[in-house]
């Protein structure tokens, strides 16, 4: 399945549990009963992902509002 959005970044951040730098991780995000695949920077061992402020207040907010109006 294609990613609805792909967010690069996460440079410099490390997962403290796995001691690994972040790399692209595909995850399923959900809102208002809709779910879709996105690619976010995250820990490729434990799967934890980072949602940075630019994404949260930009594209993600846009999609949230769209789903709320749907």
């Amino acid at each position: 399945m294609a990613h609805v959005f792909v967010r690069p970044g996460g440079e410099g951040w490390v997962c403290p549990k796995c001691s690994r730098p972040l790399g692209p991780v595909s995850v399923n995000v959900e809102y208002m009963g809709a779910s879709f695949m996105v690619e976010l920077p995250g820990c490729q061992s434990c799967g934890k992902v980072l949602v940075d402020d630019e994404l949260a207040l930009g594209k993600m907010l846009e999609v949230e509002k769209l789903l709320e109006d749907k």
Binding site: G47, E64, D69
Partner: protein, 804 residues
């Protein structure tokens, strides 16, 4: 919502009603648009309007007597607009446009005579693709030569000065233009010796419809062997189903000929299609306009007839066109940011709101607009028919929440604030200290004022206890109005029920409401309680000893929730006068006051528009604002305008001149201030130690949030308590990510339907320096959540009869 509800609301808005002149015009000419173009000197464009509306436009434009002038509202100021002058000038100074008729239908009609009605009808039928044949017994348009200078627009007994007639030369040219146009439209002409009953019978046999153009002197009932004709005023039908006749008014022979042509064209068209000619003709009738037009600020500009009536100059005609009032009713738009934002009248919004509600699939585009209405009632007060868009928005919101279509983010923060304010850790209700458990009165302090002006509330409460008999209780809670605005009847009901029990436990006292929104909410939701305004109570008491006026004039702003509460408005003014406070009334005051943007939670759903609401008030002048609702005070302060609450003068915490510099209170500070108010009041007045009040969990993390970061948090509606919860969790379970180069950490937590992220560093002293924080609603795997917090805390508030 039923469609009938929409229809009832829509009916109130008369904005799309035709203006008076259009209602009086047999061709329903868009005179305002014509005047717009003529005033701008765009005569060729204006000609297109004439071509679209007038039958045989070249002639009609020169002959119309202008019955519109009888109804022109300009007559109420000076003189009606001389529309006939405009029409003639436009026709004289532009070429006839090309007509693109519909494909031929093969239907045929015979039109007797070559009067204006027949020529006009031929033009109308030809446009529709029908074949018209003009049967004439005298030279085409011969009747024009018979016209004297007293005919046409000049002679008609209208309210205004008579317009000048068209010149003979212009009329000849108009006839030539008309006949050329008709020929190009393939209208046929048949010359006969004379009209007779036999000829009529023959034509009725030959054609599907026959029209008698009685404005041609050679066409008369007698000549055709008919009894006196009185054709139907709507269809022009006469005597027989396929026979039609002009219906002429001696006062306006040309306008009535034009009317006859238009109506007969509609009838013949219906007849050709096998439809009853009387079907669906309502819109063609002359109407008295329902359009309300405000003439109060219109300039008096009497008519200035052209210096040479036979040769009017373009500048003279443009000036006359500019006198048109462009009648429209948009009076509710200027003071409302929502209506202004999309330049739409309430009827259009109501339709959009309704369509939004009935949308089963797809995007509901009007969600934001519905939630951007401040429900302040101003449009309802301004509208001559009382159209209150806020009432409609309230119904729409109820439908949206019932169908689970309300965007979660629209009101979530406000509702969470309500729940927090009414939690046992914050809300309280107590009888007067040292008195009976039952009180005669209850000061309902609301949830915002005690946090935003705690000293004033303390002073006020002491004042009431001192001067009023029978005991005065104190209740600190949210009335539930935000739940009502958000369209949440369940939460509204639960909140009111909890308050009702607390109120009953205090002996069902008279409620003295400090906040105008609480007051109107109680009057609506708790009609069994007597609710009065704080201001009318204070008016009857002595002025408090420490009260101080600001030594500068202020602008008095009435809260929108008190727009109909004249006793409170008067009481506030009387208190201010007694205090010696100098103030002036703004343009929109009392019944017509503006909303600060808090009303209807407009600012919650649409912060940008919410700010527009508040900014409107600043246009009244540079003076500080004096308000009597604390939300207004803080919202005006947020725009940068110094604002004081009347209680800031009656129980000043500091000299009013210094209080002018007070900043608006932030969301986190307000939450904190509520706890402080509760703690202090309960300890000082009721001697309750913190042990008797519910304890907050002990926090181990110390926060350091720089001012600029705090501002970002406020605009993102992230509370410092949210940040603290994230960092407390990180202290226990470790941060989500770390950055070894910068030493910064990232932590996230999803305590409710929102995930919070905080970027921070731990300083050597152990405090967490917050660099950034943000949030999102989408769920992302791997984010730790905390059990959803129960909003049932109100139940506890009620169970204990208010003593919590």
């Amino acid at each position: 919502m039923e469609h009938s509800t929409l229809a009832a609301f829509e009916n109130l808005c008369a904005q799309d009603q035709p203006p008076a002149c259009q209602g009086a015009c047999p061709t329903q000419l868009e005179a305002g648009r014509l005047a717009d173009l003529a005033a701008a000197g765009q005569f060729a464009e204006a000609r297109k309007i004439l071509e679209r509306h007038l039958p045989a436009p070249a002639l009609s434009a020169r002959l119309c007597e202008g019955p519109c002038r009888v109804k022109c509202l300009r007559a109420g100021l000076d003189e009606p607009v001389d529309l006939p002058l405009l029409e003639r000038f436009i026709a004289d100074h532009s070429r006839p446009g090309r007509v693109f008729p519909l494909p031929k239908t093969g239907h045929r009609a015979a039109l007797l005579g070559s009067g204006l009605s027949s020529l006009g009808l031929a033009h109308e039928l030809a446009k529709k693709g029908h074949q018209a044949e003009i049967v004439h017994a005298t030279p085409l348009g011969g009747w024009l030569a018979e016209l004297g200078p007293a005919d046409g627009p000049a002679s008609r007994p209208f309210a205004g000065p008579a317009a000048s007639p068209a010149s003979t030369e212009a009329l000849s040219r108009a006839l030539a233009e008309t006949l050329d146009q008709l020929r190009s439209l393939k209208v046929a002409f048949r010359s006969v010796e004379a009209f007779s009953p036999q000829l009529l019978a023959q034509l009725e046999e030959e054609f599907e419809g026959v029209f008698l153009g009685l404005d041609d002197p050679s066409v008369t009932a007698a000549v055709l062997g008919l009894p006196e004709l009185d054709s139907d005023p709507i269809t022009m039908g006469a005597l027989r189903p396929r026979l039609f006749a002009a219906r002429l008014d001696p006062a306006t022979p040309f306008a009535s000929a034009m009317s006859s042509a238009k109506k007969a064209a509609g009838s013949l068209d219906r007849l050709f299609q096998g439809v009853n000619p009387a079907t669906a003709r309502e819109r063609e009738a002359l109407t008295d306009s329902r359009l309300p037009v405000d003439l109060s600020d219109r300039e008096i500009r009497p008519l200035r007839p052209p210096a040479d009536p036979a040769r009017p100059q373009a500048a003279e005609v443009q000036a006359e066109a500019d006198r048109c009032l462009r009648c429209a009713c948009l009076r509710c738009l200027p003071p409302c940011p929502l209506l202004r934002s999309r330049r739409g009248h309430p009827k259009k919004y109501a339709r959009e709101f309704y369509n939004n509600i009935i949308t089963a699939f797809g995007i509901r585009h009007a969600n934001l607009a519905i939630n951007s209405c401040a429900q302040c009632g101003l449009c309802g007060q301004i509208c001559p028919n009382g159209f209150d868009l806020g009432q409609f928005a309230a119904l729409a919101r109820l439908d949206m929440t019932a169908a689970s279509h309300m965007p979660v983010s629209a009101h979530e923060f406000a509702l969470e604030d309500l729940t927090s304010a009414n939690s046992p850790a914050v809300a309280f209700a107590r009888p007067q200290p040292g008195g009976s458990e039952k009180c005669r009165r209850l000061l309902f302090a609301g949830c915002q004022l005690p946090a935003a002006a705690p000293e004033a509330v303390e002073g006020l409460y002491a004042h009431l206890c001192r001067h009023l008999d029978g005991g005065v209780g104190l209740m600190f809670a949210c009335c539930g109005a935000p739940a009502g605005w958000a369209g949440r009847p369940g939460l509204t009901g639960r909140t009111v029920e909890a308050l009702r029990r607390a109120w009953a436990a205090l002996g069902s006292p008279e409620i003295v409401a400090t906040c105008p929104s609480c007051l109107s909410f109680f009057r609506q939701e708790m009609p069994e309680a007597t609710s009065v305004s704080l201001w009318t109570v204070l008016e009857a008491l002595p002025t408090p000893a420490g009260a101080q006026a600001l030594d500068a004039p202020m602008i008095l702003h009435d809260p929108c929730s008190a727009r109909l509460d004249e006793p409170s408005q008067n009481a506030v003014r009387s208190l201010l006068a007694r205090l010696g406070q100098s103030f002036r009334e703004p343009r929109f005051a009392r019944r017509l006051t503006l909303c600060c943007g808090y009303g209807g939670l407009a600012d919650q759903a649409n912060p940008a528009l919410g700010r527009e609401y508040a900014l409107q008030r600043l246009a009244d002048g540079p003076e500080p604002l004096l308000v009597w609702c604390v939300m207004c005070r803080d919202r005006f302060r947020r725009t940068g305008r110094a604002s004081l609450h009347a209680l800031d003068l009656l129980w000043p915490r500091k000299p009013p001149s210094e209080a002018l510099a007070d900043p608006p209170q932030g969301l986190s500070a307000r939450r904190e201030a509520r706890l402080t108010f509760r703690r202090r009041m309960l300890a000082e007045l009721w001697g309750e130690t913190p042990d008797q009040t519910p304890q907050e969990p002990e926090m181990t993390v110390k926060l350091d949030i720089p001012g600029s970061v705090l501002e970002d948090l406020e605009s993102r509606r992230i509370l410092t308590s949210d940040v603290l919860a994230v960092l407390e969790n990180a202290a226990l379970n470790g941060p989500t990510f770390v950055n070894p180069e910068t030493g910064r950490r990232l932590a996230c937590l999803r305590p409710r339907q929102v995930t919070f992220w905080v970027e921070y560093e731990v300083r050597p002293d152990g405090a967490c320096l917050v660099h950034r924080a943000w949030s999102h609603r989408m769920t992302v795997p791997g984010v730790q959540g905390r059990g959803e917090e129960s909003p049932a805390s109100l139940e506890g508030f009620a169970r204990q009869g208010g003593r919590v």
